[in-house]
């Protein structure tokens, strides 16, 4: 830099800036040096593969790359493109309705009424389009088997979420509250509850399959027999492909109409899926309890003390202090639980080892298992990649939706 230029810049600043920026530049380069191993590995094995997965999903790919087929893999999974458009439009309309609702709340009276009307219209239109799209997808599914499998796997994953997350939440919330009381042996119980989570899934899932759910000699059926609940007609657990609605009907001696029996939605999750759910609840309840405990610990004592002075009982304190203030944790656990069911592979792999992966009769083929089966058993890498990309989309959408929902309901503070 020449003297002439220097003269134009206020001297003290220039003097200060020059060595500083040099130091900063050195620090920046050093920082990137520190980050380099992490960045390289993360880029190679976590970020690059996303692009690669998309690339694979656009091809006919069976272990080696085949021809470029564009979005055909996706269409194969979702049925006809029209249905996909319907579903996407439906979801879009619902999202738009949500945003309009948000803005409507901020508007003045007259415009609010108009906006609310628009919201109602959008909701109806969006909902109808969504239902139409899903319905025609399922109907088209009856004709094309692979389509059916994928959509079915999504439905099964929804079953899986519904059969695990609420129970995990209730049990772990109760346990955490009990552990949070001023009692002895807290850390002992916490240690025991946490045990299922840290032991290898492969081992514990094998234990559940072989000695708990085993139909003839398993612990659960032994218990059912000695309690006199079931004798000859023992539940087959991991071997049972029939839905629980159907099984309940049989048990109670009710004749169910064929449209219930044949519908994968109405006949409910199979008993095998219930077994997987029970295993999942067993594993994650303790883990969630520990997280809940942390959440409870972060609630200030003062609230409870104040409530006590006001004469609030235990139940009221729970209802008006604990529940709202622990809601960020509840939200976190719900989100992680649902995403977890979309990722689940290992324990289903082991629990269905004897009846075929995702079995019996594909009734435990959740979204992740579907991908794995297409990849390993079907050797259809393109289709599997497309399915995994859709799964990623679903997970992102779920996170987004839950974030929005949580915004209004979760109390941070």
């Amino acid at each position: 830099m020449s003297d002439a230029v220097l003269a134009e810049i206020p001297p003290p600043q220039a003097k200060k800036e020059k060595p500083l920026s040099k130091r900063r530049r050195r620090e920046a380069s050093q920082a990137y040096l520190f980050l380099a191993p992490a960045l390289v590995i993360l880029f190679t094995f976590n970020i690059l593969p996303i692009g690669y997965a998309f690339y694979i999903s656009l091809h006919r790919w069976r272990a080696v790359r085949g021809s470029f087929i564009g979005l055909e893999n996706y269409l194969q999974l979702l049925g006809s493109p029209l249905n996909a458009v319907f579903v996407v439009a439906g979801i879009g309309a619902l999202i738009a309705a949500y945003y309009l609702w948000r803005t409507a709340l901020e508007q003045l009276d007259r415009r609010r009424a108009a906006l609310r009307l628009a919201v109602a219209v959008l909701l109806i239109v969006g909902g109808l389009t969504l239902i139409l799209g899903v319905d025609s997808m399922i109907r088209a599914a009856a004709e094309e088997r692979r389509t059916q499998e994928y959509l079915l796997s999504i439905l099964l994953t929804v079953f899986y979420s519904a059969g695990t997350v609420p129970f995990q939440l209730i049990f772990s919330f109760l346990l955490a509250n009990m552990l949070f009381m001023n009692i002895r042996g807290k850390s002992f119980f916490r240690m025991i509850f946490f045990l299922p989570y840290i032991t290898p899934t492969v081992a514990t899932a094998a234990v559940w399959r072989a000695v708990a759910f085993e139909p003839r000699r398993g612990l659960i059926n032994n218990l059912l027999m000695s309690l006199g609940v079931a004798q000859g007609n023992l539940p087959q657990w991991t071997f049972e492909a029939k839905g629980i609605v159907v099984l309940l009907g049989q048990w109670l001696g009710v004749d169910l109409p064929s449209w219930v029996l044949n519908s994968p939605l109405l006949s409910g999750p199979s008993l095998a899926m219930i077994a997987v759910c029970i295993y999942n609840i067993w594993v994650f309840t303790g883990y969630n309890t520990v997280i809940f405990l942390a959440g409870l610990g972060s609630i200030s004592r003062e609230y409870y003390d104040a409530a006590k002075i006001d004469g609030a009982g235990r139940w009221q304190a729970m209802r008006h202090i604990t529940l709202p203030l622990v809601s960020p944790t509840t939200y976190f656990i719900t989100l992680m639980g649902i995403i977890g069911t979309f990722k689940a592979i290992n324990h289903i792999y082991i629990m269905t080892q004897t009846v075929g992966l995702g079995g019996p009769q594909d009734t435990t083929t959740t979204a992740a298992i579907f991908i794995f089966k297409q990849f390993r058993e079907g050797n259809r890498w393109g289709v599997a990649s497309a399915a995994s990309f859709l799964l990623l989309g679903i997970i992102l959408l779920l996170t987004w939706v839950q974030n929005r929902v949580a915004e209004g309901r979760v109390h941070y503070g």
């Binding site: 620090e27 992490a38 996303i50 009692i183 840290i198 899934t201 492969v202 942390a294 990849f375």
Partner: protein, 436 residues
Amino acid sequence: MADRRPVRRRFRLQPFHLLVYLALSLGAIIAMVPFFWMLLTALKTYGEHATRVQWPKALTAIPYTNLPEDVETVVSLRPVDPGEWGGAPSSAQPLLEGRVWIEQVTAPVTDQLARGEITPPLEVLILAADTNPEVEGYDIFYYTVGGGRSIQQGTVRAKWGMGWKAPYYIEAPDMERWGPQLIVEDNDPDHFVVRQTWRPLVILTFNFIKAWHDASFANYMWNSTRLVLITLAGVLTVSILAAYAFARMDFPGKNLVFMVFLATLMLPEVVLLIPNYQLAIVIERFLRSVFQVENLWIKNWTVLTIPFFASTFSIFLLRQFFAQIPSDLYDAALIDGCGHLRFLIQVVLPLSKAPLMSVIVFNGIWTWNAFLWPLLVAGDQWLPITVGLSRFTMEAAAQTHLMMAGATITIIPILILYFFTQKQFTEGIATTGLKG
């Protein structure tokens, strides 16, 4: 951690607390029952499991009381034609055959034998073969029990060299476990001395030893241990450096890079599975063309550990802690002419023992429990214990007692680690709440 008040209120047992304890105990029982049942099944014999015996005889006093005394017999040998023993090994010296009589057995075997309509004394036919000329004497022994019609896999052990194989199966299934151990003491070409001895410990450990041998758990365990150690070394190096950069250094694009790191936590493993598998093939091909050596990547430890070195969870955990270290310390160190690296090693790391321990414990457990990726890419040389166990549970499908013994073997190292470090666990989870 859960209870923040410094002074604890005195504990007073109220009726309500009894209810709470009841519920907590119920929860604890449910959490523990599968483990308990696993152990119980692992101690059963095949027959006990098959006939729904709930409590294994190995956990009663019967097999351990009134044990007969050791008996020594001198067995004279005669050369035999290999054709007489189906599947006899080719031997450097002539195959020799001798007979021993088992006069006494313990109570459970008496039951078993009664069911199989065989009564003591049992004739034991022993075949000795010398398959390894370098080892002096006969080194493989087969034996059959009970007049040639009931046949048993050998627990005959030679003093020199040891081998046992299963040419046939016996009708009294638990002879091997409850019956005497036959130990060959003197190993001569014309006779050997067989000692019958009763070992209570064998009764307890039998399934575990059998599973251990059947599935080569020794290998798996060694593989998993090595993989855990390598991963830990890598994770510690990579995440300490990265965490330090995020916590204490200033650089352009910091927020962006941090967001990218955060976003990778969301990625489900199954989405990355296929491209990473394909990538592994590409890397393998590339390494082969450069170094002219096969399996530098696939089927090696590299592919099982290196992709997991950048543990975002560990980076966040450490960053959180590093950021709390007062910056005065760094300023002081800077004046003393201390650079970032030295500050990190000499000041930050000694202060961070607790979070480092958490990182070690968590990553150790995750690596030990990892299943899906090793299932795809691990070769036999580096097969970790989880994949080994899953193969074993397939092979031992009907032999639940062995399967449970295998599961116990897999779980035990984790349990030991957990009981010593459980505080790091629960607190690590509670403070970061990451990873579902």
